[in-house]
Structure formats: C-alpha cells, structure tokens
C-alpha cells in the first residue's frame, strides 16, 4: 500500500516501520445464556455497546451489536481503504467506493462455531480504469487488506465488484 514504506531519517538512518496498536475493552457479567457485556473502543469512537448471546444468534434487529457485526464493519472499512489505495497507486483516485460486508458464523462439525464466510460487495465510481485492470485492482486490494488475509484461517472471502457509471 501507499505511505507504508519505512522512512529514512535526515541522517540517512532507516527508522523503524511504525507499529500501530488499537485496543478495545469489554466488561461481561454472568454466564453465557443470561449474561451480557459492554464493548468500548480505545479511541472513544464508540462506548459501552451492549451485547449478549441471545442478540448474537438472533436476527440482529434489536439495536445491539455482536462480534460478527464488528467484523463486518472492520472488513468493509478495510477493503474500502485498500481499494482506494490501489486505485490511487494506479493513477486513478476514486470518486466514491461503497462496500458492504456480510459475515457468516456457523457451527462446523467437530470444530464448533467458526467465522465461515465474508461476502463482500464493492461498487466503485472512478474514471480511467476498466475491465481487466479494474478486476486486477480488486484482487490486489483484497490481498493487501490485512483483514481479508487475516480471517482466511477459517473463512472464505468472496468479492463481487462492479464499476458504477
């Protein structure tokens, strides 16, 4: 990706590649069936999001988040950034990129519950990139998004990408 290379200081000595850490905290009270937890972001971008097992395996319409919804948000944001980076590198910065990620958790025989799939839909408005070049950009962006490679231990990542007028 762009802006990623280790920089060289004025003295000519290579400086270390930055390591960025981000953390989140959770307080959980009670057992799995009847307990509940609160999720807070280290940056303060979101705080005390309530969640529970009933919500996690429910329809997702109760105003409460779940680990899978947070993963979906992470994947959508990560891939949007990565596609923007690759288009920029190719000399065609995008006007707009819309990404929708759908994370599927399921019970796998003998392995318990796993994140089995992330289905991603990408729509891009950009000039100067078409056809095979666009498809190649999406492939490279998928390889470059840390999240896509991260979850491949258990999950299949499928991407449906199209250019928009």
């Amino acid at each position: 990706m762009l802006a990623n290379q280790a920089s060289t200081s004025a003295t000519g000595r290579a400086t270390s590649v930055p390591r960025i850490e981000r953390h989140a905290n959770v307080v959980w009270e009670g057992n799995l069936a009847r307990g509940s937890g609160l999720i807070s972001a280290g940056t303060g971008a979101f705080e005390r999001l309530e969640y529970s097992n009933a919500v996690r395996i429910g329809k997702g319409d109760e105003g409460k988040t779940s680990p899978e919804e947070l993963l979906a948000a992470a994947h959508a944001a990560c891939l949007a950034t990565s596609v923007a980076g690759e288009l920029t590198r190719a000399g065609s910065p995008p006007e707009r990129i819309d990404v929708n990620a759908n994370i599927v958790m399921d019970e796998v025989e003998g392995k318990g519950h796993l994140i089995v799939e992330s289905q991603v839909r990408v729509r891009v408005r950009v000039t100067g990139i078409e056809g095979n070049a666009f498809r190649r950009i999406i492939e490279v962006a998928d390889e470059g998004c840390p999240f896509s490679s991260l979850i491949k231990a258990s999950a299949k990542v499928s991407i449906d990408a199209e250019l928009e007028g």
Binding site: L49, R96, I103, L150
Partner: protein
C-alpha cells in the same frame, strides 16, 4: 446456530487525502463512524476508529462470551470479566498480533483453573478461530477475587 451480520462503508477520494465512513450499523448499535488513512496508520487517532480497533472490539467481545461459557460449564459462572484485545497493525506488513487480557471475578475458583479456562476460551472463540495461525495470539489472565 448460524448468524449473519453485515455492515457498509463508503470511501471518497484518494487514500491519503480522502476519507471514509462506516455507515450506521444495521443493528443500530453504533455509527456512522468516520475513518481515514492518517487516523489508522499514525499513533494519533483523533478519536477515529479503524478496522484494527473494530477487530479488537470483536475479539475482546467474542473472548468474554466464550470464557463465560467455559466457566459456567465448570459450575463457576463469572460475576464479572473485564477483557481487552490490543491489535497491532504494521502498515505495509499487515495485522501481526492480537493480545488478549482478562481480569475475572469468579467465586470458588483458583488462579490455575481460571488460566486454563481462559486458554480454552481463547482457542474456542470463533474470532480466534478466524485469526489463528495468521497472527500471534497472546493471553494474560488474572483473577481478582
């Protein structure tokens, strides 16, 4: 039991000067949240979230639930678990580590048994399962009875 959750993000402009938005979550629980390359790749985040922070939130949340289950099955349902996940992102390399911590209040349980339960939850939680082998996963578990 299967569960599906989706989320949407929009990016406008190039990588360095452009910016993105994670739309309000379909559940309604959070958002919209602003994201940018600078906030993601530099120490100063300016109060903005990032994919790494969202993964940390998902991992800490998943781990807490898994541990509550392991403890309840051993007849030691926790009074309280405080978990955290710290995700390390090396721009250009990728995500290299998720470090879990837990401080538990669990009546009638010793430190060693609690550490074993936490290890089991770390392995069993679905988010760990997706990350396993791709990143370094560490755990620091303590009791605070």
């Amino acid at each position: 039991m299967a569960a599906e959750r989706s989320a949407q993000a929009t990016w406008q402009g190039d990588l360095i000067h452009g910016s993105g938005e994670i739309h309000e979550a379909p559940s309604g629980a959070f958002g919209p949240l602003q994201v940018s390359w600078a906030a993601r790749s530099e120490e100063q985040h300016g109060g903005k979230t990032s994919p790494e922070e969202l993964i940390a939130a998902a991992h800490a949340a998943c781990f807490a639930m898994a541990l509550s289950n392991v403890l309840a099955k051993a007849d030691h349902a926790p009074e309280r678990l405080e978990t955290s996940a710290t995700v390390t992102f090396v721009p250009g390399t990728g995500i290299t580590k998720s470090a879990l911590t837990v401080v538990g209040v669990v009546q009638g349980m010793g430190e060693a048994a609690f550490k074993n339960a936490a290890e089991e939850a770390k392995t069993g939680c679905p988010v760990s399962g997706a990350l396993e082998g791709n990143v370094e996963l560490t755990l620091d578990a303590r009791l605070q009875n």
